[in-house]
Symmetry: C2
């Protein structure tokens, strides 16, 4: 009989519990022990052995696979390095660690011939890492884009449904457990940034420096922006994007207006979506739950079972999942990108303001594709919404500076997909 | 240095050409020879050796992997059996062969310890087989459903866009190369049936008897059906479906009205979509190009590269892809299923007809959820559209028989998703 696969679990929170529950259906996998912060906390799952010393797990000679679902860099980085040196395979959901130290971990894993699987680190329950590394590996990709954070997508969806402000919506989301008490990681786009760094890494076979990823969250999106976008035929989504051109990679995270005809505009609530574009496949898209106890457990358990299938049978376990590239991406500055823009403006004098906008944009080589004046308010001010044709980010930023100098109030500038 | 992987190709049509072109980027893969029907035909790709004897390929001791992209059962079945006995790994795009003889091929492959990969057999370029067998393997699935045929989806999309009949649209599609001269395999749902058989097999780990799959094509869908469905908030799509309940599998292919809120309704033209529902993942969906030279080549090449990654390194190549289940599915009769229905009726006397419909449906335990009378025509006839609540297929068929006896003209009966 084959040996059982013996798991050590680091973290027994939401995802960890889901993993323990799901693995009950797979008696060929044994969870020997779990490391937690507080061993006295009541939990709805049982594990043979619970410890508050995670180093016991990564040093346990009986454990073959370390499953890390605790998150954060410290002590996860040290723990996984130790586990790898001890020749344990790794399954992790830790997007931050992979984005910041993936390169060191992958190199170390290759040195010690162990697999690092991390399907759960990007887009929760959606299979995306494995398809890119197996079925789609014959492709040369041009672009990967999507909605990678459930919390912000939930907030944007509810802002539209209920026509409420970001602040009001955030409070509701926190009450329902969709947003954390400190929501910064989600709403400022950090979580999305970590995920697109990992996706860009495996799609373009280049190492990504997250400090060079342009990042903007959703905290400046107003109920009006969502309403005007809707009238113009768009939804607003927090989009992660990585695209290749002229040997440079353009990697960024920011809100975008997405045309209603684009399926991505219909990905609502806590759902995620990942779109890939390349040759020969063309365009494929994956959608599903981007977070949560069970969807994330689905991906963690899938990775564990993939290791189990080859454990003891192959000199390299899952060789197609190994990361061998070392080249660093040349990452494009956002100022060197081209986009179409939505500009929301408040004007004291609508006709005069439209004239100034036309002149300033013209001077900066920016063509307008539509100008929408929303009815004048009692105090005489009017809202003006401008959509530009594709132009350079440098030019639009110059134009915005000049408009501000002309005392024109810019409420928001949002890129258009 | 590792040995090259040496490929023998059976079929050098559209997909075969795409495979040859794509493999140019992978010099570690050698295509030794290709078998074709007519060796004198001009082609836009070159292969070292071309033969019209495919048995030469499956018996060639130098060839490690046989890639079959010719289609059909005869001689593909004999060829692949011979190749397996000769210990060659198989990559195939042949949905008909897998649906009809997959069980024998999988058993034989297990006996000779070779892999059979067939990502390209279902949904073209969309990664679906590998994700089910790897990342999603921890799930217990309830349902798989989708749009699996590009030709019929293209026809239904164009019928709506241009408001034209099925016949007119088919002609256009044939002219553009989207439909074959004999379109039966596509428009009568055979192609979709083969694909859902394969999906159901791997999703539910049971062998499917295609003679027990209920199948209905799109040839009876009229421009009016599409128009009325649209008014009621639906699109009409050819849906393949397999769902599990009470240890029975309900597997079928027929047109369905799909609510516009459902992402599947927005999958247009030649795109395909596959939706999976299970625990712990919840619902995930995959969309992309379902056919064509390059998308299909993407999947074939992905399979070849997956074999290459493990070739010579594992005692079992890609063990997670092997098919070990032997249990036959208990397949539900369509009459034992429950559905909601769209009924299109032509009536001489609208009010009287609505009365009869109400009575007959009531007698058959069928509740109506909406009745829509479309304006009376010059000759006094009216169109009536009925949507029922969920009821049994047996009851609706009885009701339809009784309505016909009452001289009521039933134009169409379409299930609602």
């Amino acid at each position: 009989m084959e040996n059982k696969l013996i798991i050590g679990l680091i973290g027994l929170g939401t995802v960890g519990s889901g993993v323990v529950k799901t693995l009950k259906n797979f008696p060929e996998i044994e969870i020997k022990s779990a490391a937690v912060r507080n061993i006295n906390k009541k939990r709805d799952v049982e594990v043979q052995e619970i410890t508050d010393d995670p180093f016991k797990i990564v040093n346990d000679p009986e454990i073959n696979v370390v499953v890390e679902v605790a998150g954060g860099v410290d002590p996860a980085f040290e723990l996984l390095k130790t586990a790898i040196v001890n020749k344990k395979h790794i399954v992790t959901a830790n997007k931050e660690l992979l984005a910041k130290h993936g390169a060191e971990l992958f190199d170390l894993a290759n040195k010690y011939n162990v697999a690092i699987l991390y399907e759960a680190a990007v887009a929760g329950g959606i299979p995306i890492i494995m398809p890119i590394k197996t079925t789609l590996q014959g492709n040369k990709f041009k672009k990967v884009a999507g909605i990678l954070n459930g919390t912000t997508n939930y907030i944007l969806t509810k802002m539209e449904e209920k026509n409420i402000s970001y602040q009001e919506c955030l409070k509701d989301a926190q009450g329902l457990g969709y947003a954390e008490a400190d929501p910064t990681g989600d709403v400022e786009g950090f979580d999305t940034m970590y995920k697109i760094a990992t996706l860009a890494n495996i799609v373009f076979h280049k190492r990504i420096d997250i400090s060079k990823i342009y990042r903007e969250g959703i905290t400046n999106i107003s109920a009006e922006d969502i309403k005007y976008a809707n009238e113009l035929g768009y939804k607003i989504k927090l989009i992660a994007l990585a695209q290749s051109s002229d040997d440079e990679l353009d990697v960024r995270v920011h809100p975008m207006l997405v045309k209603k005809e684009n399926i991505i505009s219909g990905i609502n609530n806590a759902l995620n979506a990942v779109m890939l574009e390349g040759h020969p496949v063309g365009q494929v898209m994956f959608t599903g739950p981007g977070a949560g106890e069970f969807p994330t457990a689905s991906s963690v358990v899938g990775d564990i079972l993939a290791i189990k299938a080859e454990y003891g049978k192959c000199e390299n376990i899952l060789p197609m999942t190994r990361c061998h590239h070392k080249e660093k991406a040349v990452q494009k500055d956002i100022l060197d990108t081209k986009n179409s823009y939505y500009i929301s403006i408040t004007a004291q004098n609508a006709m005069g303001t439209i004239g100034v906008i036309g002149t300033v944009c013209g001077n900066n080589k920016i063509n307008l594709s539509s100008v929408l004046q929303k009815g004048t308010e009692p105090n005489g001010t009017a809202h003006i919404i401008v959509i530009t044709e594709e132009c350079s980010e440098r030019d639009i930023q110059n134009a915005i500076e000049q408009l501000k100098k002309d005392s024109i109030i810019i409420n928001n500038l949002i890129r258009v997909m």
